[in-house]
């Protein structure tokens, strides 16, 4: 369209030596840096990785590796249970933070801290709190009950739960913030009308809040699921995949294979996740690139 600088007929310009206008030539030059980065650091690695993972024997080896099966199950638990709990809390808290109170404004400033600080020191801080001998939590369990507390990170179920908790701690502020913007976009008149009609808290949520927020909520949940697949830190820094490699997720398992110099297995484990990832990615792209 002639809405840009490249209007061939509309704008008087130098005679065209080729089919491209000067503006389009500049466009290609300006786009080139990103294209180079994309080719060198996305296309080449992905193709090379797929080529490394081409042998069917890799998949047989993965199939026979109990750690892989366990990691796949853990990832599923992390995504299906962890993310849904997180998003429900975020939905609930977005209603809380939308209240007009000075102290709630201040609390929301503090609440964003886990998102603003890097995850390494805070996850390690939690890791020490959970230390069975020296950690603060077991110290208080002992002084309250006189019993030794559990060996938190030595039980795979508890350890994975803690990794999910750490993930929620870190990313809850971000999703709450986004859901707050969604909530604030709802017209206030609707709530006032509902108030006049004597609607209950639940009716207001069911018939006003939820219908206007459900698209945003579902988009956020899917996006969070995709990104959580790549959450290496919460598991690696808290449990290191242990005890006995029972708390790995796909993100840490790939790196584990890499450290063991089994690059083709690492790539194969990622390829196995693709049938789940790609539909989600496709769906998100459809949604965002309108």
């Amino acid at each position: 369209m002639a809405i840009t600088l490249s209007g061939d007929q509309a704008m008087p310009g130098p005679p065209l030596s080729s089919r491209l206008t000067p503006a389009q030539v500049w466009g290609i030059i300006l786009l080139a840096p990103y294209l180079l980065v994309f080719l060198a650091f996305v296309v080449y690695p992905v193709c090379y990785g797929l080529w490394l993972a081409r042998a069917p024997s890799n998949y047989v080896a993965l199939y026979n590796d109990p750690i892989f099966a366990r990691a796949a199950v853990n990832t599923l638990i992390f995504l299906v249970i962890g993310i849904n709990i997180k998003m429900l809390i975020a939905l609930f808290l977005s209603g809380f933070f939308a209240q007009q109170r000075t102290w709630i404004k201040w609390l929301s400033v503090i609440f964003i801290l886990p998102w603003a600080v890097p995850s390494i020191p805070t996850i390690l801080s939690v890791r020490f709190m959970l230390n069975p001998e020296w950690g603060m939590i077991n110290h208080y369990i002992f002084s309250l009950t006189g019993d030794d507390g559990p060996n938190w990170l030595n039980d795979p179920t508890v350890a994975l739960t803690m990794a999910i908790a750490v993930h929620i701690w870190k990313s809850l502020p971000f999703w709450t913030l986004i859901l707050i913007t969604g909530r604030l976009a709802i017209s206030h008149d609707l709530f006032e009308a509902a108030e006049v009609d004597g609607a209950s808290w639940w009716q207001k949520f069911r018939y006003i809040t939820w219908p206007s927020m459900q698209t945003l909520y579902i988009t956020c949940t899917l996006l969070s699921m995709i990104w959580t697949l790549g959450d290496f830190n919460s598991v690696y820094l808290l449990t290191g995949g242990g005890p006995a490699d029972l708390t790995h997720v796909l993100a840490t398992l790939g790196i584990r294979y890499l450290r063991l110099d089994q690059l083709s297995l690492a790539m194969a484990s990622i390829v196995c996740a693709m049938p789940f990832v790609l539909p989600l990615v496709y769906f998100m792209m459809k949604r965002l690139s309108r």
């Binding site: 466009g27 300006l30 913030l177 995709i226 820094l237 790939g254």
Partner: protein, 288 residues
């Protein structure tokens, strides 16, 4: 007549306030406990840190002194690692801004042929989990001979940061009126002049948000840093923090002190630019 400042007392308001507090207090504790625990360790002598007290008997800044004087085996390269983190974060910020701004300008304002495809490819990269790309990226950097070189981490982080940057900047560019460009062309401005004199000044708020985003992303990155850099004098601070865990008798009070120092700059940057971040990033993060 009601006196100013004196509101009517009602049990209903008290009940509402109490219910809000019942949510607010747990939220506050949940948020602060890991951070407070880190701070507590930083100001505690070793004996106090391991005793589980909520406030040390003898709060001290001794740990900070040890870190700043590099008086421990794990801390002997503290300053150079801090410097590495800074250089890498700033380089990623600058490179991302340059690459993403020019790409967004080309796609949104110049309507370059194929721009839509490039945007979709970028968006696709944005959705691929970073830990999945890390494995082939590690090998690729080896093939390019860049392992243990700061450029490997800089380029990797630019690769990860630019898709989102391009997308947000493209959304922001689309909102600028076309008439601006047309008027500038009428006045005889070249494409580069439009870019420099019209486009960049108008895009400033988004550029601040994206620059901050890229700097924080690079400063906070652990996985790529730990894969791509290994030499003690080349690594960034988070990798050095991870290396503390290598020993069985890790000096946790020093680890937490260093972690606290490491967490301060991004928190400060975040709060300083919060106005831009919240507007610029959440608007683009999820479009409902």
């Amino acid at each position: 007549m009601k006196l100013p400042g004196v509101s009517e007392f009602s049990w209903r308001d008290v009940a509402t306030e109490a219910r809000l507090l019942l949510i607010g207090i747990p939220v506050f504790l949940w948020t602060m406990i890991p951070i407070y625990h880190m701070f507590l360790f930083a100001i505690s002598p070793k004996e106090d840190a391991f005793s589980g007290k909520l406030w040390p008997d003898h709060p001290t800044l001794h740990n900070f002194q040890i870190v700043f004087k590099q008086q421990h085996y794990f801390l002997r390269d503290f300053y150079i690692q801090f410097w590495n983190s800074t250089v890498i974060a700033v380089s990623v910020g600058v490179l991302t801004l340059v690459i993403a701004t020019s790409a967004a300008f080309a796609i949104s304002r110049l309507k370059v042929p194929g721009g839509r495809t490039v945007l979709n490819l970028a968006l696709f990269t944005y959705f691929i989990p970073a830990a999945f790309l890390a494995v082939p990226m590690y090998r690729t950097m080896g093939n390019y001979g860049l392992l243990n070189n700061h450029w490997s981490l800089i380029l990797a982080m630019v690769t990860i940061a630019s898709p989102y940057a391009i997308w947000v900047l493209k959304q922001a560019s689309d909102k600028l009126p076309v008439e601006l460009d047309e008027a500038a062309v009428m006045d005889g401005a070249t494409t580069l002049q439009i870019f420099r004199l019209v486009y960049l000044p108008l895009m400033m708020p988004s550029l601040v948000a994206i620059g901050t985003y890229a700097v924080l992303l690079a400063w906070n990155e652990y996985l790529y840093a730990f894969l791509l850099l290994s030499n003690d004098r080349e690594i960034t601070l988070p990798v050095a923090l991870g290396n503390f865990l290598a020993a069985d008798d890790s000096p946790w009070e020093l680890l937490m002190t260093t972690g606290f120092i490491y967490a301060l700059p991004p928190a400060a940057v975040y709060y300083a630019f919060r106005r831009y971040m919240v507007g610029g990033l959440t608007a683009g993060a999820v479009k409902s």
